[in-house]
């Protein structure tokens, strides 16, 4: 560009080269702007105009150079090279697309995690046998969850491939907010996959939606959700309302809307039942009642109401009763009340007018009872007090004892017991008045004390779970600790028969890899071998070769 005199000299060749550079750059920028903006824009047009201008300069200034570029030897060979490369890329791309569409996959996991287990195939068989059931799996995945979707899809696709009755749909909640809006409450909790029945026209029946838990054990989560969906309507639990009980629609900390909502989420229908009205009108408890929940009734039952309950029990009904010690003349389940006597005679269980004190297994005060011992033999208690999981205990505040008849008319037993350092305090007045207690031989009952018990009449099929506390099912307590909700749902599952239908052992759990146990010396030896010895040998080789070369 500079001559010997230091002046700038612009030649035709320089202009031609510059023109070719501008033409190429403009063309690339134009193509990129089309790809990036998904269309033609003003910027794209501007880039192409610049490119054409550069091309014009190139052709005008160095026509021979341009001619060589498009017709010379290099151009011919270059063109062949470009087209042959494009051909290779095209062939490989087509092969790739074809193979991806075949979905050929080999499951290389020890537990065959990416292969449906026999239990899941049974559930899919039930879907196939069901005439009307068409199921839609709907997954909401934002772009940032693309990798999660890729992994999940490999499971969900197995269900889709296994039957024509299960279809799969993915929705991006960012671009389709209207479709995501009804699921917003779940999406906010991190639950993003749902199963629901589908109408013949392909529309999802939103009311049937069951969320799929996201525990990273995808097969179990999905199969359980589909099972719950299939069982929807088969189980119905009623909340008794005529005894001034806790309200299943109350969202406050003292309400019990959470258990109501969780029951529905799990495919169990819920409804309200007024025992007083049934007794007055002479009606019976509905035949579809799988269980009835009595959550903290505030008064004693009349004989007419007990008769209604007895009729239900005689045809195999299930009662889930929660009772506190309340010091009024009309309080529910008083020791000598008619209904307490009825439970004793029918199931061999009854509430006692004491308050349980536990000096060893409690929290802030000795009346805040942590489940000290659990009988694992019954399904109600089998998931409580799991080793190394403090959240799996229950926490009752001011509980009453439950007496279990040792010569019962039906099968019965304890579920939760207090520690041996507990007792049932008889002096409730003093406890309420002074917040103090003391064990008195002869007046109080020495622990361990039963706070939850079960009974099952195998002749009629009727079942009872009697709990000496009511706070634990309120919204403020049901999830803290988790043992409270475990007790509630395992009880419901046992009483209704729901657990037997839903629970299964997916393949991944049966073959889960055990954790490893090694001593400190072994850890040190492994660290020495892998961090010092192995790399060290390579370093010695490098130094030896370097030294030999120097010589």
């Amino acid at each position: 560009m500079l001559n010997r005199g230091g002046n700038i000299v612009i030649t035709r060749g320089t202009l031609g080269t510059t023109g070719s550079f501008i033409a190429g750059t403009g063309l690339i920028v134009g193509i990129l702007s089309i790809l990036w903006g998904s269309g033609f824009s003003i910027f794209t047009g501007f880039a192409f105009v610049i490119s054409l201008t550069g091309l014009g300069i190139w052709i005008t200034m160095t026509p021979d150079d341009f001619k060589n570029f498009i017709m010379g030897r290099q151009a011919k060979r270059g063109t062949v090279a470009v087209f042959s490369t494009l051909l290779i890329v095209g062939i490989i791309a087509m092969l790739y697309i074809f193979v991806m569409r075949t979905g050929a996959t080999i499951d290389m996991t020890q537990g065959e995690r990416f292969t449906l287990s026999p239990e899941t195939l049974d559930v899919i068989g039930a879907v196939n046998r069901s005439i009307e059931a068409r199921i839609r799996i709907t997954g909401f995945y934002a772009p940032r969850q693309l990798r999660l979707q890729e992994v999940d899809n490999q499971y969900w696709q197995l269900y889709d491939d296994a039957t024509d009755k299960i279809t799969l749909e993915y929705i991006n909640p960012l671009t389709e907010p209207a479709k995501a809006a009804p699921y917003q409450a779940y999406l906010a909790q991190g639950i993003n996959v749902f199963v629901a029945f589908e109408r013949e026209d392909g529309e999802v029946i939103f009311q049937s939606t069951i969320p799929v838990a996201g525990t990273n054990i995808q097969e179990r989560d999905m199969t359980e959700a589909i099972t719950r969906l299939l069982l929807r309507g088969r189980f119905k639990v009623y909340f008794e309302t005529g005894l001034d009980t806790l309200s299943a629609g109350d969202d406050s900390a003292e309400g019990s809307s959470i258990i109501n909502s969780l029951l529905r989420t799990n495919g169990i229908e819920t409804d309200l039942l007024n025992l007083e009205q049934l007794a007055t009108s002479g009606n019976s408890i509905p035949v579809d009642a799988s269980a009835i929940i009595f959550a903290r009734p505030q008064r004693q039952l009349t004989q007419a109401e007990i008769d209604v309950i007895d009729e239900y029990v005689q045809r195999g009904g299930a009662l889930f009763i929660f009772s506190d010690v309340i010091l009024t003349s009309d309080s529910f389940l008083q020791e000598e009340s008619m209904f307490n006597n009825y439970l004793w005679e029918t199931f061999g269980l009854r509430g006692l007018d004491y308050v349980v004190i536990d000096e060893a297994s409690s929290q802030e005060t000795s009346t805040d009872l942590v489940s000290a011992a659990v009988y694992p033999g019954n399904p109600v208690g089998m998931n409580l007090n799991v080793e190394n999981d403090p959240q799996s205990t229950t926490l009752f505040r001011l509980a009453r004892p439950i007496e279990v008849d040792e010569t019962p008319p039906v099968n019965n037993g304890s579920v939760i017991l207090t520690s041996p350092f507990s007792w049932a305090e008889n002096d409730i007045d003093r406890l309420i008045r002074d917040n103090s207690w003391e064990y008195n031989e002869g007046e109080d009952i020495q622990g361990p004390i039963t706070t939850v018990a079960w009974a099952n009449d195998q002749e009629t099929g009727s079942k009872l779970v009697l709990v000496g506390d009511t706070d634990f099912i309120t919204n403020g307590r049901i999830l803290s600790p988790q043992g409270n909700s475990i007790l509630f749902f395992d009880s419901i599952g046992w009483m209704t028969g729901f657990t037997e239908e839903v629970s299964f052992e997916p393949q991944i759990l049966a073959t889960g890899l055990p954790i490893i146990f090694i001593d400190v010396q072994t850890i040190d030896l492994i660290a020495f071998t892998t961090i010092i010895l192995m790399p060290g040998i390579m370093l010695v080789f490098a130094i030896a070769i370097w030294g030999r070369r120097l010589r």
Partner: protein, 240 residues
């Protein structure tokens, strides 16, 4: 084939007689060793060992190491003028490229083989999911082959080893980070397309979780073929 075999042997011999190759092996084993021990210490009494730990780590490590393995292969020959000699010899261009690529892949396989020692340790102290590990190793072996093919292509482009290494590192990093396209692109379809073009996208949700998808095998094999074809074109262009 004979010419390919001769060049392969010559390059393998060059690798194993160079202190640089052992220094790379030293760094490679040191890093994988630290990662292995870190996971082992966290696993004890808490969880089962991660069957694809080392291959997962190598998927990132190869972004840095593949250019080191390949940067000298053609650019050094070009700078020293020995490539012209090779091109005038009765050896097809593809034999030169194949021989050099296979030697780099062999060296990588050798290093990968050394990390199997960790699996031997695990077999003796725990219950590793060995079939899952096999899938992960197969995936990272193919992944490594593709990264080496990219590195070799850039080595053919320039005489400067540093520039070749720099360009291939940048390219491999893009092919690695593209797996996270969903984090920056609003359209999930575009993110999926970008992800399908990346090396990591064909490893992290298939081989790494214990499944072998034929499509991913075709992707890596295809990537190797395309990159080697381009390399051959670049080498041949010297004759034009």
């Amino acid at each position: 084939m004979r010419a390919t075999w001769i060049i392969f042997r010559r390059e393998v011999s060059a690798y194993f007689s160079s202190p640089l190759a052992y220094l790379i092996a030293f760094a490679f084993l040191l890093m994988t060793g630290i990662i292995f021990n870190n996971d082992l210490a966290r696993s004890i009494t808490v969880k089962s060992v991660d069957p694809s730990l080392i291959p997962d780590f190598l998927s990132l490590l190869m972004v840095l190491f593949a250019p080191l393995f390949t940067m000298r292969l053609l650019s050094e020959e070009s700078r020293e003028g020995t490539l012209e000699l090779l091109l005038t010899a009765p050896v097809p261009d593809y034999s030169i490229v194949f021989g050099k690529f296979l030697s780099a892949w062999f060296y990588y396989s050798f290093l990968l083989g050394l990390t199997l020692f960790y699996q031997i340790i695990l077999v003796n102290i725990g219950y590793p999911d060995f079939v899952h590990t096999t899938a992960s190793y197969l995936g990272i072996w193919l992944y490594g082959g593709a990264t080496l093919a990219v590195g070799l292509m850039f080595s053919a482009l320039t005489e400067n080893q540093i520039i070749a290494a720099f360009l291939s590192t940048i390219t491999l990093f893009i092919l690695w980070i593209g797996d996270l396209a969903g984090d920056i692109v609003a359209s999930i379809d575009l993110a999926r397309v970008i992800r399908n073009l990346t090396l990591q996208g064909h490893y992290s949700t298939s081989f790494a979780v214990g499944i072998i998808r034929l499509g991913d095998v075709v992707y890596y094999s295809g990537m190797i073929v395309i990159m080697l074809f381009l390399t051959i074109q670049f080498v041949e262009s010297r004759r034009w």
